[in-house]
């Protein structure tokens, strides 16, 4: 496990993600030096020039810890996940996408065909009269070219390989990363399968908590651009759909502090199986009406229900994806 100098080997990898998680690692600032000091980074495609072959050359289990961010969408990502799983002692799903599917997971509202059709044919910016589509394999005079296969459904990391721990967040908050790395290095880990963050919702650490009224019932939902926000009052009390009550804390509420309602990136607490369903049921409970039409009108103010309640967690939810039999062939799907 350790190199001759006795430093544990660590790897970072990215799958279907935006790169923000890599930024988060860099964001560790001077803390990263401590990490670099304490470990030997054996693989980090974004920053260091190691190749897949270098990983394959490692003995199984040689990596003390591996942090994978991003969801699983392509065959290459799947292969790498399996490879890194084999080589790692502790495998951490890093960030919302690896943890719950993340933003890329919203693609589960469509299927492969619909996505490729949009990207290579119907999008207004596309100029592709030949209807060329990416191929998994192409024979060219120079030889055979291959591309990873694009799957129909986005999966979380633990729907692909066994995961030991989860670092939630989009991206994970620096403090949680430092705590997690320290815990791994010191061998002070909670039970396998744990999310390395507090198991209490955000309201508990929100600076606006004391202004939240005891009997909060809503007749109107508003979006941030429609409100002149009071910087101190609970956002939900201002009619903004803050998902703090449903979302794991541990981030220190930076969004809420910056007048942005919580969008739920740290995901649910351990006690909730389906984040979106729970958040929706909580919101539905506080709509202040018994009149069906009025309730429908309030709920209609949620501009994009799936994108709001399942923004980071559609693949991990009980729904997982839009049922395929309803997807119109080749057509766009709206929700």
């Amino acid at each position: 496990m350790a190199d001759p100098a006795g430093k544990p080997k660590v790897a970072f990898y990215w799958c279907a993600s935006c790169g923000g998680c890599e930024e988060a690692v860099v964001d560790l600032a001077e803390d990263i030096l401590k990490v670099v000091d304490a470990v030997d980074i054996a693989f980090w495609p974004v920053a260091l020039d190691f190749k897949r072959a270098d990983v394959e050359a490692l003995e199984d289990g040689a990596l003390a810890a591996c942090f994978i961010n991003g969801a699983i969408r392509t065959s290459e990502q799947e292969e790498m996940a399996h490879l890194l799983r084999r080589k790692s002692g502790v495998l951490v799903a890093f960030g919302s996408c690896a943890h719950l599917g993340g933003i890329p997971g919203l693609a589960n509202l469509f299927d492969r065909e619909a996505i490729l059709d949009r990207v290579y044919r119907t999008a207004p910016t596309v100029d592709n009269d030949d209807g060329t589509r990416p191929q998994v394999r192409a024979e060219t005079p120079e030889g055979r070219l291959t591309l990873p296969e694009f799957s129909d459904t986005v999966r979380t990391l633990d729907q692909t390989v066994e995961v030991d721990y989860y670092l939630p967040g989009c991206p994970p908050p620096v403090g949680l990363i430092v705590d997690a790395v320290t815990a791994i290095l010191e061998g002070r880990l909670p039970p396998r399968g744990s999310v390395l963050a507090p198991d209490v919702a955000l309201c508990s650490e929100c600076p606006r908590k004391t202004t939240k009224p005891e009997r909060l019932l809503l007749k109107e939902l508003r979006r941030p651009h429609e409100v002149l926000m009071d910087p101190e009052t609970c956002l939900l009390a201002q009619g903004l759909l803050c998902l703090g009550p449903a979302t794991r804390g541990g981030c220190g509420a930076p969004c809420v502090s910056a007048n942005m309602p919580c969008t739920g990136c740290l995901g649910p607490t351990s006690r909730v199986r389906d984040y979106g369903a729970k958040a929706l049921s909580a919101l539905a409970s506080v709509v202040d009406s018994n009149d069906e039409a009025e309730i429908a009108a309030v709920m209609a103010q949620v501009a994009d229900p799936v994108g709001t309640f399942y923004r980071y967690s559609l693949p991990a939810s009980l729904l997982r994806r839009r049922a395929r039999r309803h997807a119109p062939a080749g057509g766009g799907v709206s929700s």
Binding site: C203, K212, L216, L217, P245, A246, T269, R271, S281, A282
Partner: protein, 665 residues
């Protein structure tokens, strides 16, 4: 997932019992097949079918198996939990297990009774049994909690229902608070002269009961008062009562009426409420001669002292040393604690103006039945003489049944008492005036002890009974002052137009105008017509869905005095049963906040229909009062971070149950 409770030898051991319910279940479901299937499910040690599981031998079977096979979970697949959950929980406890290690499966109402396809019904029964087997694995032992019952009772409404309930309870030496909105108790019955079907004098039977209320040391009577707040739960209600000022001190007034005599108004000038405006009263008045309490009331709207502050106050002068009149009285509230509550708020009569073609309020000689009750009453505004507003004695009278009852446009229901009181009024009017009386009815409804006999008697007396719904009431041409009552006589098959001097509208019984407010305050429900809803129409007719709150009289639906009194007695008995038990057991299926998990987001606080949830400032977390919690589950579903759980409905239990029921799919 939490680890389940296991048997001493370390295993969950399930016994499954499939009931035939005679042929109720076995007629449609292959009980043998279900039993054999149950035996193959995980952790099932014993599976049996039996003719009647609820019978003594059926229950003994369970208990014997618990001992012989060291069972730790019991499942009975039979009828509705509403019927026998209690039975089997008790049997399970009798066998030495925690009663909540029992689970009931309803394969009668949910399968055999609602399906005809034997094969499909049998498969469904298997699914339901499997769900229970999966679920019971996670059951935990639960304890029922006991809370003491405050023996004091609140009775709201002092009509015959409230009076009878209060006297019954006081007879058992329980302290009763009787709260009546009007200045006197008595309700509608106090307005009647005679009562059907026996024609006994209403005052003769009611007044002694009213006086008994006044003198009974176990009854605190608060008239001119209303309940304005109710908190708490069965056994421990906290009630706030608003007491309106009558400007006469109850304890000092002796009811001599000298003040009324002495009032600067020489003649009575203001419409008298008790006589429905048919008579007049002064600003200071006694509601009626038999009023209880017999204490004068001052109406500040008409009293000169209140209006100008410049009255000679001859009333105060004559009251003299008794000093009972007090213009400075103010409204105040009292708070009482009681363990049980009986609602006896009665009814209001249908507003006859809502049917314009009967001409009430337009033609002076159209009366409501309640007004005529006052006219025939010896202590009424005309001293019992039935005379028209112009002083004439009517020679012909039409009584119109079903006004505001059995009518698509007003109330669809039958008001139950109108046929009978219309016959009574026909008899009384005839007796007082010798007039020709015509009763127009749709159907004659006289189901009750002595009712049909009463009907025959009235018919024999010569009352004209015309089967037909009155379509119109209009003045006779010319200036005879008579009214024409027009109806299609469905027995003769022709339209009849009968000129009469007086029309009496048999107005129906409706919920009190404020029934919805009262319902909300006491946290009970109303039926579609707006009367208070009983818990079960047959088996719990005086109970409500809120434990410890009972119904008596016409507030629950139209009924006559005998039924009202029977129900009042029954409500009193239900209250006494609780009081006598001393404590109530509360179901343990309550919700609880997992304190370390709660973020204090407060989402749950306003949702609880029983106000069981409070936000604790000290901990900044929510807390559920388990005595108030009814286990409705609203907060459990709403808690955004899954930090509220519920006994008997833990996530594991529910998800396993779902998995079980869907496992074949």
């Amino acid at each position: 997932m939490r680890e389940p409770e296991i048997s001493p030898d370390g295993a969950v051991r399930v016994g499954v019992y499939i009931c035939h319910c005679g042929t109720n279940i076995a007629g449609t479901i292959d009980v043998r097949a279900v039993t054999e299937y149950a035996a193959t499910l995980p952790h099932v040690v014993v599976a049996r079918d039996y003719k009647y599981m609820c019978s003594d031998p059926g229950q003994t079977l369970i208990q014997q198996d618990i001992r012989d096979h060291h069972l730790t979970r019991i499942i009975v697949a039979s009828c509705s939990p509403l019927l026998h959950e209690h039975t089997f929980r008790a049997a399970t406890a009798g066998g030495g297990l925690n009663p909540y290690h029992f689970q009931m499966v309803n394969i009668r109402e949910h399968a055999s009774w609602v399906h005809e396809d034997r094969q499909a019904a049998t498969e469904k029964a298997k699914d339901l049994v499997r769900a229970a087997v999966f679920r019971v694995y996670f059951h935990e032992p639960l304890e029922r909690r006991e809370v003491p019952i405050n023996p004091d009772v609140l009775v709201v409404g002092g009509g015959i229902a409230g009076i009878h309930a209060a006297l019954t309870l006081a007879g058992a030496r329980k302290h009763v608070y009787l709260v009546e909105r009007e200045p006197s108790i008595g309700g509608h019955m106090a307005k009647f002269d005679k009562t059907f079907p026996t024609l006994d004098c209403a005052a003769c039977i009611l007044t002694p009961k009213m006086t008994a209320v006044r003198t009974n040391p176990h009854i605190t009577l608060w008239t001119y008062s209303e309940v304005v707040g109710v908190e708490g739960y069965v056994g421990n209600f906290k009630v706030t009562v608003k007491r309106k000022p009558r400007y006469v001190i109850e304890d000092l007034c002796v009811g001599c009426a000298e003040c009324i005599e002495a009032c600067v108004y020489k003649a009575a000038r203001f419409p008298d409420e008790f006589n429905l405006g048919l008579g007049k009263r002064k600003p200071i008045y006694l509601p009626f001669p038999q009023a209880v309490p017999l204490v004068a009331v001052i109406d500040p709207e008409t009293c000169i002292e209140f209006k100008s502050g410049k009255c000679k106050k001859t009333c105060v002068e004559v009251c003299g040393e008794r000093n009972a009149i007090d213009f400075t009285q103010e409204e105040h509230t009292e708070t009482i604690e009681v363990g049980t509550i009986i609602l006896a708020t009665g009814f209001q009569v249908f507003d006859a103006k809502r049917i314009p073609y009967y001409g009430y309020g337009v033609y002076p000689n159209v009366y409501t039945a309640l007004e005529v009750e006052r006219l025939v009453n010896a202590s009424g505004p005309t001293s019992g003489e039935v005379v028209l507003r112009d002083g004439r004695t009517p020679k012909s009278v039409a009584i119109v049944h079903c006004v505001g009852s059995r009518d698509e446009n007003t109330n669809r229901y039958c008001s139950r008492v109108c046929c009978m009181y219309s016959l009574k009024l026909a008899h009384l009017i005839k007796e007082h005036t010798d007039a020709e009386v015509y009763n127009f009815y749709i159907d004659m409804r006289t189901p009750g002890k002595g009712f049909e006999e009463f009907y025959n008697r009235v018919a024999e007396e010569g009352t004209q009974l015309i089967r037909g719904k009155v379509a119109d009431v209009y003045p006779e041409p010319g200036d005879g002052g008579r009214l024409i009552v027009q109806a299609e006589d469905t027995l003769l098959g022709k339209v009849r137009k009968i000129p009469v001097d007086m029309v009496v509208l048999a107005v129906g019984l409706e919920p009190q105008a404020d029934a919805q407010d009262v319902r909300r305050m006491f946290n009970i429900t109303c039926s579609t017509e707006g009367f208070f809803l009983e818990r079960h129409p047959k088996l719990a007719p005086v109970n409500t869905f809120t434990d410890g709150i009972f119904l008596a009289g016409a507030c629950q639906g139209p009924k006559d005095i005998p039924d009202t009194v029977a129900q009042a007695g029954s409500a009193a008995a239900e209250a006494l049963a609780l009081i006598d038990a001393g404590t109530v057991e509360l179901e343990p299926n309550t919700a609880y906040v997992v304190e370390e998990a709660c973020s204090g987001c407060k989402t749950c606080v306003p949702l609880c229909p029983y106000s069981a949830i409070s936000f604790m400032e000290a901990t900044q977390k929510a807390q559920i009062n388990e005595v108030l919690c009814k286990g409705c589950g609203v907060c459990v579903a709403a808690c955004p971070s899954g930090s509220i759980r519920q006994h008997l409905f833990q996530d594991e239990e529910i998800f396993e149950e779902i998995k079980g029921v869907l496992a074949h799919a």
